[in-house]
Each structure stands twice: as structure tokens, then as C-alpha cells.
Amino acid sequence: MTTLQHEMIRSELEEVVGKEYISTRESDRLVYATDWFWLPQMWLDRGAQPTLPDFIVHPGTAVEIAEILKIANTYRIPVVPWGGGSGSQGGAAPVFGGIMLDVKRLNRILEIDETSLTVTAEAGINGSVLEWALNEKGLTLPHYAASANCATLGGYLAPRGSGTISTKYGKAEDMVLNMQIVLPTGEIIRTPIVPDHAGGPDYFHLFLGSEGTFGVITEATMQVDYLPAARLLRAVLFQNLGHALGAGRQLMTRRLSPFVIRLYDPASTATQVKKVLGYEMDGAYMVMGFDGDPDIAALQEQKSLEICLALGGQDLGREPGEKWWDHRYHFYYPPNGLHFPWMYGTTETVTTFDKLEKLYWAQKRAVEETYADWNVNYIGHFSHWFHWGASLYSRFIIPEPPQEAEEAIRLHNRIWNTAITAVLENGGMINEHHGVGLKLSRFMRRQYGPAWPMLERIKKTLDPNGIMNPGKVGF
């Protein structure tokens, strides 16, 4: 971009949002250069400059966003929506520079409807702030992401996130009734008032998972719940991972309504559970939780425990379950979480019960055997459960990766190739809840096969100049 172009774009943006809401400061450009994706973080860590955004813009309304997108179309420059920047897939990384569109000024709660149990809020609202506001009325948005303190409502929806209690309450996308969206060409639309209807085709879900490539989410109406009267947690230890998975499957298929089933594989039981909770155990540590009416929750717990015991589980009682609940997010924060100088990646996936265990072993074997020379650690847990299957939240960690940044990138990408190939060959999806972003963009064609050109045509129709978040989600 020439200085003249830069100044012309800047002056036009200033006319839309005002001078104080645009930044080209060195510090801001650096801080907005990367989200939680290991690759650009590593680049920074090694003292190399990642691609910086040219402008950081803080619009205050959907109308302003529409105007910004029109400017971006005129100059054919990229626009990257940024919520909290906590995504781990590089979805908010400005790989081609351009406008970083920080939506956090759109942070108002517009309505809490205590009859229908819905909340309508602007998309930039912080997850924990929204939750506090709902809690004041005895309500909760049951999307308990470990990143709620920093993530935004739009950031929950755009990559189709899942929170800790998704097993009962669903993914973020299951909670949304309707959204206001600014299309890449600048039109502001509102999707139908409810998602479940027979009033024509469902274009609404097209925007969930589009990660800013089809437009900018500016408002959403979400289903909320009453805060539960009781939350019962319990831990069970299995010596056999297959039996533990079988227990989880039965809890789900018999609709015993656990709000959480968190099953750690033996490797993460020995490392993660020990580090965060202080328990030294051999086997697969499983936490299950039941909530709502205390009597019903207790009965569900009792029936579930019977299933676990019948499959060889050892009841550890409530305390280890409650301790897990209290520390459930600590697994992800420093110093317990992933950190440099490690190389790491969360290769999480989802599939049906019939394929789940096979997929786990296939991915584990592929990663561990191929990268044994790098002392790779492969750990996993099964966290978001459905009536038909569950997600495998797996991770690779290389404690001592190559020092040279370029070599590190190559190794990183090779491991991802291995992990995702194992997923695709065993009937899994390339991702369950972190989204595609930049990281998995190159696998989209393989994932979708002959359906991919159709998605490309949709993208071309919605975003003819390709300004929205280029390089992401395969586009």
C-alpha cells in the first residue's frame, strides 16, 4: 500500500468512525498481529515480525461497519473481524494486512426477555460481562467457554464454539435464535426471528462457522437458561479407556442428560489431572455432572453411576468432581496451559460413537510414531458429547522444537498433516469447536470434496471482491 493510498483510506475511515477510533500506532499494530494460533505467536516469540494490520478500527454501530466494508471494497483491502482475539486457529490474524475490525465497542445488552428466556446483545460484548448481567436476573448463557473472560459473543458464534457444559445445553450455535449481520457488500440483514421453522431455506446457519468470511455479526439473540438449583459432580476412574467411552455413550444414548462428561485419556490423567488437581492416578479419569432440579439431578447421577460401575469404573466420589469443576479452566491458563518454547496444537475433532475410539488410537499412533524423534507428547480428552458421538480434544506437544523458525513451521505443519489425515481417514471432522481459521484452511477442500466448489460459489456471491478475512476457512 502506498502512502497516498494509506492516507486516503485513513481519511475515509475517519469520516465514518471518527479519528479516535482508528489506530495505526506501532503498539496497537503489534498487539493485533496475532490471535492464539501457535504459528504467528512463535514467529513473535522468536523475535520475527508477523504481518501487521494497516489500520485498527473500532466501529460503534452496524451502520459504521457497513460503511467500512464499502471503503474496503473500493480499495480492495482485507477486513478481519476481531472479537477478543482468543481464537486458536489464526482466524483473526491479519495475514494480508488491511483493516482490523475490532467489534468490542458493540457491547450493549439490548434486551433480556424473561418470558421467552432470551438475551439480545451486540456481538462485541465480553462473555463474562454478559454472564454477570444474566446472573443478576438468575439466568445464565450456558456457553461456558474457558475463554469467556476475553472472548466475545460474536467470537462464540463465528467459529461455532462449544463450552464446558455443551453436552446438555449444546454448542453456541444451538443457543442462537437470530442474528444481525453486515454482509461484505455493506447490506445490514437480520435473519428470521427463530431458527426452527419451515419458512424456506435455512441461510441462517451459513454464517455460523464462516468466521468472518461471509460478513460481520453485529447482534445476536441467544437462548438463556435459569441458573440451576443444583449442580452435582462426581468422578470415576476407569482402567480401560474403551469401557469409559462405552459408559459415556450409554449416558448419552439413554438420555441421562449429563451437563458435562470429561474423560481424560491415561496420558492426560497422568500429566494434566496430576498437575492441576494434584491427583496421581493410573487410568482414565472421568468427571460427570448433572444439574437442575436436585431430585432429578440426583437420580440421573445415580443411574449414570450404575452404568459406570457396571463397566468397571471406580467411584471416586464427589470431591474430585467438584475440585475439577472449580479448577476446570486452570488447565488452559499459564503456567498450566500450553506455552513457549513448546510447539503445540490442539487437533480436536468430532465423530460418531462407532468411530470414536478407533479415531483416537489412529491419531495417537500416527502422531506418536511419526514424531517419536521429537519426543512428541500426545494427550487427549473427550469433552463435548452428543446423542450420536463425542469430540476428541487431542493435543500434541513438542517440548523442544527446532530453534530455527522456518524449520519449526515445517515441522508444525507436517504434524498437522499427520493428525488431520488420521482424522479424515477415520471419519472425523477437521474440527469440533475452535473453527478452521488459517490453520485448517488448507484442509477444507479435502474435508468437503465435491461440495467445496459450491461453498466457493457462495463465498463469491456474498463477497465478490474477497475482502472478508482472506486466507481463512479455505477461502
Partner: protein, 371 residues
């Protein structure tokens, strides 16, 4: 110099988990004004990816003092210490900027940032002293007579000390640890000279400065200290205790204006106070409060910290955010005991149709007396 804090900064760089409470980050919605943003900036500077210049240094001096983030930290990182150390390093390198340097000069010469006037020394002797400080002296002077009346109502005669002297927090936050320690020590020395064993404090900020920072702001208490650090107690705590014990009582006002209690700057650092101080306010107010959204453990500061000197515009935004919160609650009367919080709220309250009331004065007007 940063060796001791670098691991904290590396951790904060990779963590965003206090964004929901980081005061300046919240009012600006800018990533750079969060502990994550600042830590990323500092660690990037160390890697040669950023340079120190007016803009980047300005960012580092634009966070309040890391107190809210520290209180809510998911993994207990001492971010406030790390931030103070970075600022101290920038000061040593002569990069801190004019506003910070001027603050240093004023604090060094006058022991307060507000007035070209030296603190008044304590006179008399006694077991209990009241630290008047600079904020009550210069920002909300009605505080001292009201507090003395209340203390007298519970049968306490106190020596007033530190009148016009800063508690050391400004100097600490702005990167002058030695000056912070000197100011802190001067108060302790003054106490020793009057024979006081207990120090009464007017605000959460003073309590934090004296009680939680007993080490004297990273420096051991000087060997010349003639007393071991005394007991520190907030006046509101003392009055709440006496109220509970039936040793003091208040007549309720007839004023039915919708009201709220504003947790003052630094209140998040002293969680035990939240309910106690509310107990005092409800003893005089005839109606239940309208609670603010940003209250108690999620209380946010007004622009009363040293940021009022380094970034006055940001300080104003912090204060206005509290007034907007109050307005949204439906309250028309804002009650608080902290002189600095009162002063800052009062600057703009009229624009929001709000009135500000000092809690100590209100209690002093309604006190029934020594039972």
C-alpha cells in the same frame, strides 16, 4: 532490572483472562491497554520488535496499576509488580515522559501531587493515629472533621498524622520505588514519634498501601523505624464493628432519593470491606440501595490513581464510566467515603444528573452518639 518479573510478563503475554476487568482496556476497548497487551509490548521490545518511544512508553504508563487484574488473575500472576518494575526501568532510562517526571518532582518536593505545600506534622501523643493523607487534605477536606466527630462519638481521641502526605502508591505505580518507600516510611516514623500503635485509615487505597504493602513498596522497612508496623484499620471497619456492638447508632435520613454506594478505587483489593461498609450506609439511608453493576469484587476505579497525571483523558473516561453505571442503576445520589473517589465523581456528576455525598459527613450528621 526486569529479570525478576520477566516470567510474569511472559505469562501475561499469553493470557487474556483479566480482560473483563482491566479498567482502561474496558473503557477504550483497545487490546494494548490490557495486561496482555502491555506484556506483549514489553516482551516484544525485549525481542527487538518494538522500540521505546513516546507512544509505546505512553501505553505502559496508561494502565491504572494492575490491581483489578491481579485480584481477578486466574493464576495469581503478580502483574502489578511487573508493571511497576517496567515503569521503574523506563524512569531509570530517562524515558518516562514529562508528566511522569513532573509528578516525581512534585512528590519529592511536596510529598503530595496536588499542592505545593509540605505535610503538616502530627502534634500531641497517643496510642491511635489517623492518617489524613493528601487526598482528604486537598481533595475532600470535609472528611477529617467528620471522621474526628465520629471517632469521638465512639470515645476515641486520635492524633492526626500524615496530613498532606501521599501514602506512597502514586510513586510506586509511577515507577519510583525509592520515593514510594520514603513516603511510606515517613508516615511510620511520624507514628513512632507520637507513640501510636494503631493507624486508622480513611480509604481502601490507604489500607492497601499500608496494610498489604507492609514491606514498604519492595523495600524493607528501614532499620531506623522506631516502631514495628502498627495495626492498620479502616475507619469504616472500625465504625461497622462499633455499630454491630451497639456502641454507636445513627438516625436514618428522611431523604428518599434513589441512592447507591460506589465502591472506591482499590476496593477490589480489600474484599472483606464490601459488606461491612454497606452495613454502615444502610444504617443511615431509609431505602434499599440501587446496586451498581460494577460493584464489590468487580468494582472499577475512577480516575483517581496516578493515571490522572500521566493520562488525564483516560482518567476522565474511567470516572465517566462509573457515573454512567450509576445513572443506569437509576440512582441519583452517590455515596462513598474515599476522598479521592468523591472528588473525581463530583467533577462530572452534575452532567449526569447525579449528586455526590461523602459517607463520613453523612454519618457524622446522623450520629446519635457514644452509647
Amino acid at each position: 532490572m526486569l529479570d525478576n518479573v520477566i516470567s510474569t510478563l511472559e505469562n501475561c503475554r499469553f493470557c487474556l483472562m483479566c480482560r473483563h476487568v482491566a479498567p482502561v482496556g474496558m473503557v477504550t476497548n483497545q487490546e494494548a491497554y490490557t495486561p496482555h497487551g502491555m506484556a506483549l509490548l514489553v516482551t516484544s521490545q525485549q525481542r527487538g520488535l518494538a522500540t521505546w518511544n513516546a507512544e509505546t512508553v505512553g501505553i505502559v504508563f496508561s494502565e491504572v496499576d494492575g490491581g483489578n487484574s491481579r485480584t481477578h488473575c486466574a493464576t495469581d500472576q503478580p502483574f502489578e509488580e511487573a508493571l511497576a518494575a517496567v515503569r521503574a526501568e523506563l524512569v531509570v532510562q530517562g524515558l518516562a515522559g514529562t508528566a511522569v517526571t513532573q509528578l516525581h518532582t512534585h512528590l519529592t518536593q511536596w510529598h503530595n501531587p496536588y499542592q505545593p505545600q509540605l505535610p503538616q506534622s502530627a502534634t500531641g501523643a497517643g496510642q491511635v493515629a489517623l492518617f489524613a493523607g493528601d487526598e482528604a487534605a486537598y481533595l475532600w477536606p470535609e472528611t477529617i472533621p467528620a471522621v474526628l466527630k465520629l471517632l469521638s462519638a465512639v470515645g476515641m481521641e486520635v492524633v492526626v498524622g500524615g496530613y498532606g502526605r501521599n501514602n506512597g502508591l502514586f510513586a510506586h505505580s509511577a515507577g519510583f520505588p525509592d520515593l514510594a518507600a520514603q513516603l511510606w516510611q515517613a508516615t511510620l516514623d511520624e507514628l513512632a514519634s507520637v507513640g501510636a500503635k494503631q493507624l486508622l485509615l480513611l480509604s481502601a487505597g490507604d489500607f492497601y498501601a499500608f496494610n498489604d504493602r507492609r514491606g514498604g513498596f519492595s523495600r524493607p522497612v528501614s532499620a531506623s523505624a522506631k516502631v514495628s508496623p502498627p495495626d492498620f484499620i479502616e475507619v469504616t471497619d472500625l465504625l461497622a464493628e462499633r455499630l454491630a456492638a451497639g456502641e454507636i447508632a445513627f438516625r436514618k435520613t428522611e431523604d428518599e432519593t434513589p441512592w447507591t454506594y460506589v465502591d472506591p478505587t482499590h476496593a477490589v483489593r480489600v474484599p472483606e470491606r464490601h459488606e461491612r461498609v454497606r452495613g454502615l450506609v444502610t444504617a443511615v439511608m431509609p431505602t434499599p440501595p440501587r446496586e451498581l453493576f460494577w460493584r464489590k469484587e468487580r468494582a472499577q476505579p475512577v480516575g483517581s490513581t496516578y493515571i490522572q497525571f500521566s493520562s488525564p483523558a483516560l482518567a476522565e473516561r474511567l470516572t465517566r464510566a462509573r457515573l454512567q453505571d450509576a445513572q443506569a442503576s437509576g440512582a441519583q445520589l452517590l455515596i462513598c467515603e474515599d476522598p479521592a473517589t468523591l472528588h473525581h465523581l463530583n467533577r462530572y456528576a452534575g452532567e449526569y444528573g447525579l449528586r455526590v455525598q461523602g459517607l463520613y459527613e453523612l454519618l457524622a450528621q446522623r450520629v446519635i452518639g457514644h452509647q
